[in-house]
């Protein structure tokens, strides 16, 4: 058992407790006897038992396998920054506009990940953004009406 498993089990267990509590408040009657609440309750119990088993396994087998390492490695930091960039991108799409934001996102990330000349990154970003915009908006009829710009 790895330490990550314990975090995962803990997460699931908390979720199961919350959902279990919520399903107790659900209307459970109906003409059949099996209402809306029994099934989720059952699943919550399964998850709880499973998580407890994970905890027991972990503590019985000892925690020796844990590698001591820094909070985030350099590679992981890059992922964290990407996630933040994408969150920013989502907001920008909503308030500024799809095409412009996508262009900016692509340009920023391509420049960040690769070491191309800036105009090459820009051309790549432009090409990709226009292709995706064209394919989805014109061929597949997806509406990209969000922000003030297009």
């Amino acid at each position: 058992m790895k330490k990550g498993d314990v975090y995962l089990a803990l997460m699931f267990a908390i979720l199961a407790l919350v959902f279990g509590k919520l399903s107790l408040d659900l209307y459970s009657g109906g003409r059949s006897g099996v209402g809306a609440s029994q099934w989720p309750l059952m699943i919550c119990i399964v998850i709880l038992i499973g998580s407890i088993l994970v905890f027991i396994n972990y503590f019985r087998n000892g925690q020796a396998s844990v590698k001591a390492k820094g909070f985030l490695s350099r590679d992981e930091k890059r992922v964290a920054i990407s996630i933040l960039t994408l969150i920013l991108y989502f907001f920008s799409v909503m308030y500024v506009g799809f095409f412009v934001s996508s262009l900016a996102m692509l340009f920023v990330l391509i420049t960040y990940y690769g070491n191309f000349k800036w105009y090459i990154s820009l051309i790549c970003a432009l090409l990709i953004a226009s292709t995706v915009y064209f394919v989805f908006s014109y061929l597949l009829n997806v509406s990209f009406k969000f922000g003030v710009l297009f």
Binding site: A16, F19, R31, C44, I47, S82, I110, Y113
Partner: protein
């Protein structure tokens, strides 16, 4: 009659439409987020101006192409384009990561083709019987089928079955969000309207597979791109052919059968095929490391479904899956009533559909094999460019499902969660399986009890239920048995 049908189906313009349909379907299937159903729905308005043959065969072309196309991105990028290829991604990508992308694509293409052809034969020869048999399925049988499907979790959960089961249960729990089918009560929606129809599993899948995979490649960005990307061959190895033929025969038939049961689709079929082939194969323990069986079985099964799904539509006029529902719409617009009368009144068009279905599969294998090199070219795109493209496609794909921003948020949350799972070495497939099968299990469990007025013996009242019960027990005991015999 056959001559009439041949004349209808083999008109040059029909062939051209079908070819374009298959190519377009492969393209749509490749893109994460654009599902088979969506692809067919997008093409539907174009068919309103055509005659019946052109219209239905174009849609069939898109259908066949899209179900196959999903496996290309699953193998190359570990990003299943459609849920039907989620099972293929497990071993397909493992093989591609070894540098054998061409081989993996070859296996998947040939298996898809054989699966499609087998289902075509079933469709032509025994569709009335299959349809009659499929009608025997009622709530208890569907429940048993769903539980049987959930047993597959043990074979797709990677290093720890316990964690796999937990993930599967998590998927089932997430699937209970939304308005309950049976009682009409809103569960766990927190008053948010976007949750009323539940968490859509397509964005979850895009997040767990595509987005998280893109994060992993961000992490590996500075590692040198392996040189193994040079494709040495675009066809399966010699020793693969036996495996392909065997698996395609078994799982193509299984897929056809599953497809003919209304309400059960290609996603479920491919997972069941993956799980069962693991039990049957000598290399069962090596599953997950890129074995040919594990690519061939789900691919044969999901293309087997395509023919199967047409069976209830043509024989009974009821859709076998969401795609068939759209095709029924397309036929009615043409003034044709799908169902038993279609065989009597429009025999030529029914045979034209059979022939067209056959031809579409041939187009699929031709396009597939001839462009393996083109597809694998994707791998030579620098990661620094490819990864942002995948981000963009994940975003656009999940948005375009319902033109709803909420799906994008779901996708993103599960993307981050999926990255965490990958970091700790947990497979996300059980979550998807739980999401797909959970609602089927629950609603049929409760529907069965409603129909039997609360008698639990309804679950053991028919032969089919017993059959599935035996399968469930067998698939649970088989690994234990295998372990015991190995120890000797």
């Amino acid at each position: 009659m056959i001559i009439d049908a041949l004349l209808l189906a083999l008109q040059p313009s029909v062939l051209l439409y079908m070819f374009l349909g298959v190519a377009g379907g492969i393209f749509i299937g490749c893109l994460p987020g654009l599902t088979t159903t969506m692809g067919v729905a997008l093409v539907l308005p174009l068919t309103f101006g055509m005659d019946a043959t052109h219209s239905i065969l174009l849609l069939i072309g898109v259908y066949v192409g899209a179900v196959y196309g999903g496996s290309i991105s699953a193998i190359l990028l570990n990003t299943p384009g459609t849920p039907a290829s989620a099972a293929t991604a497990i071993d397909g990508h493992a093989m591609a990561a070894r540098g054998e992308a061409g081989r993996a694509l070859g296996i998947s293409t040939i298996s898809s083709f054989l699966g499609g052809i087998i289902s075509c034969f079933f469709l032509i020869l025994i569709s009335p019987y299959l349809a009659k048999f499929a009608l025997k399925f009622s709530a208890p049988e569907f429940f048993m089928l769903a539980v049987f499907g959930l047993c597959i979790i043990s074979s797709i959960s990677g290093r720890s079955v316990l964690i796999g089961l937990l993930c599967g249960a998590f998927g089932v729990l997430i699937a209970t969000i939304g308005i309950d089918d049976i009682s009409g009560v809103a569960r766990f929606t927190f008053g948010n309207m976007n949750l009323f129809s539940g968490v859509n599993f397509i964005p979850v899948m895009i997040g767990l597979f595509a987005m998280s995979q893109a994060f992993v490649s961000v992490e590996d960005m500075m590692k040198k791109q392996s040189d193994a990307k040079k494709i040495t061959q675009a066809l399966p190895h010699k020793e693969d052919w036996r495996v392909i033929f065997k698996n395609s025969a078994i799982f193509g038939s299984l897929g056809t059968f599953i497809g003919s049961v209304p309400g059960v689709g290609a996603d479920i079929a491919s997972f069941i095929a993956y799980g069962q082939s693991k039990g049957l194969s000598k290399n069962g323990d090596k599953y997950g490391t890129g074995v040919p069986e594990a690519i061939s079985a789900p691919e044969a099964a999901n293309n087997g479904v395509t023919g199967g799904a047409l069976i209830p539509m043509l024989t009974l006029g009821v859709p076998g899956d969401a795609v068939a529902a759209i095709m029924i719409g397309a036929l009615t617009v043409q003034g044709l009533q799908p169902g038993p009368l279609l065989f009597q009144n429009n025999t030529a068009i029914v045979y034209a559909i059979f022939i067209g279905f056959f031809v579409a599969n041939i187009f699929m294998v031709c396009i597939g094999l001839s462009s393996v090199r083109l597809f694998t070219r994707v791998l030579s795109v620098p990661k620094a460019v490819l990864t942002p493209i995948i981000f963009l496609l994940c975003f656009v794909g999940s948005y375009s499902l319902a033109n709803n921003f909420f799906d994008v948020i779901v996708m993103f949350v599960f993307g981050v969660f999926g990255y965490f799972l990958k970091k700790i070495g947990v497979s996300p497939s059980p979550i998807i399986l739980g999401l797909i099968l959970g609602p089927m299990a629950e609603s049929n469990f409760r529907r069965a009890l409603l129909m039997s007025r609360g008698e639990y013996d309804t679950f053991f009242s028919t032969g089919i239920s017993w059959f599935f019960f035996v399968l469930i027990v067998a698939s649970l005991l088989f690994p234990v048995f295998k372990k015991l015999t190995k120890k000797k």
